[in-house]
Amino acid sequence: MRRGVLVWLQEPEVPLQALREAGDTGADAVLLRRPGASAQAMRDGALRARQAGLSVIVNDRLDVALALQVPCQLRHDSLPPDLARLLAPRLPLGASVHEADDARRAVDAGLDYLVFGHVFPTASKAGAPPRGVKALAAVVRASGVPVLAIGGVTAGNVAEVLAAGAAGVVVRSGIGQASAAEDARALRLALDAGPAPPAVLTRNLREVLHCASA
């Protein structure tokens, strides 16, 4: 049985085949993100992800999320969370946050889930110190909504973020590259074998993201 939620971070241009492969290796949802991507590119990517049987989260572009009725994940410089909530009262909304204050603001605005990171050192954030598992646990305690961990999470350390109370993880998928599928399967196994996140939160998150509760 699947426990933690596994979200793949992908550019919207990701081909259908790679999305199918991500689904096969145990991804629950795909988060489409590329700064500057056009609405059309986002929309096309979301439609391909649906075709591959994956739930879709659109990063930043609330207009695309509204048009497709899929969840939207706000970033630091997106529309303010309270305004996004007002514009999309029934859409699942998340926010990426970096500290407990941001987390509280997002939850007060009525957002459904949070993404916190980067938890571990990661090449994409070289130079910026990782925020660590303790800070993750603090955000989990402060928020009361499901929190996904992002940044340097692997099969080797995923147990730590689960122990901190994360409902799942967001990872940049190397799908399409050599050995990526193997890494992905290992992560899925570790997510299912690690400490169980609070069942109520993962269930809630799966509902929010329209993930299959397999």
């Binding site: 056009s38 609405a39 590119a41 207009d63 509204l66 529309l79």
Partner: protein, 218 residues
């Protein structure tokens, strides 16, 4: 502005759009406060519609500057549109949104924002036909333009005339329009002009706007 109703609702009477002068002279501006005095002057000179077109800044910043711009534009008496982003247009309670190639399709925008007026870009007759569900159709670049690096080859005035005759929506000419060539668009069948540098690049934006109107309408 009509109290609680939208400009779109206000403009339609018995299914007909009754405020065609809204399209006469459109100015596209970035989310940059230093442009505000020019925008105010341009509206005094006869700009009827200001479109916020921001491609660089983040949404949060665009939203904050956009609110100030919207208030300024409304106070000065013009309509306020947002380029590309229907979510920002809704957040800013704009009068309309303008979508181009690569943005959400017109029918999707209509579904999520039924209260907004919608403009859509086209570059030839074929693409203009495809966006006739919009409230106005922008057509261009009519002339060579320095404002848009990835702009297509100029359509010329003849293609513009043909499109204006065939398209069921008001056509707005865009691309490389200035006081020197605006007269060529007179009686071409288009409802109006859209410019950037002809006004924002002028030392006297008010006079530049007035001159454009005179050349086009006189």
């Amino acid at each position: 502005m009509p109290g609680a109703t939208s400009l779109r609702a206000f403009c339609f009477r018995e299914g007909r759009f009754c405020l065609t002068s809204l399209w006469t002279l459109q100015l596209l501006v970035p989310a940059d406060r230093t442009c505000f005095p020019q925008v105010e002057a341009a509206i005094r000179g006869g700009v009827t519609l200001v479109q916020l077109r921001e491609k660089e800044r983040g949404d949060g910043e665009t939203y904050r500057v956009g609110m100030e711009l919207r208030d300024l534009v409304r106070r000065a008496g013009a309509a306020f549109f947002v380029n590309d982003r229907t979510d920002l247009a809704l957040a800013l309670a704009a009068d309309g949104v303008h979508v181009g190639q690569g943005d959400l399709p017109v029918d999707a925008v209509r579904r999520i924002a039924p209260g907004l007026l919608i403009g859509a870009s086209s570059h030839d007759l074929e693409s203009a036909r495809r966006v006739q569900a919009a409230d106005y159709v922008a057509f261009g670049p009519v002339f060579p333009t320095p404002s848009k690096e990835d702009a297509a080859a100029p359509t010329g005035v003849a293609a513009l005339r043909q499109a204006a005759a065939e398209i069921s929506r008001p056509l707005v000419a865009i691309g490389g329009i200035d006081a020197a060539n605006a007269a060529q668009l007179k009686n071409s069948g288009v409802a109006g002009l859209a410019v950037i540098s002809a006004i924002l690049g002028a030392s006297d934006p008010e006079a530049a706007a007035r001159r454009l109107r005179e050349e086009f309408l006189a």
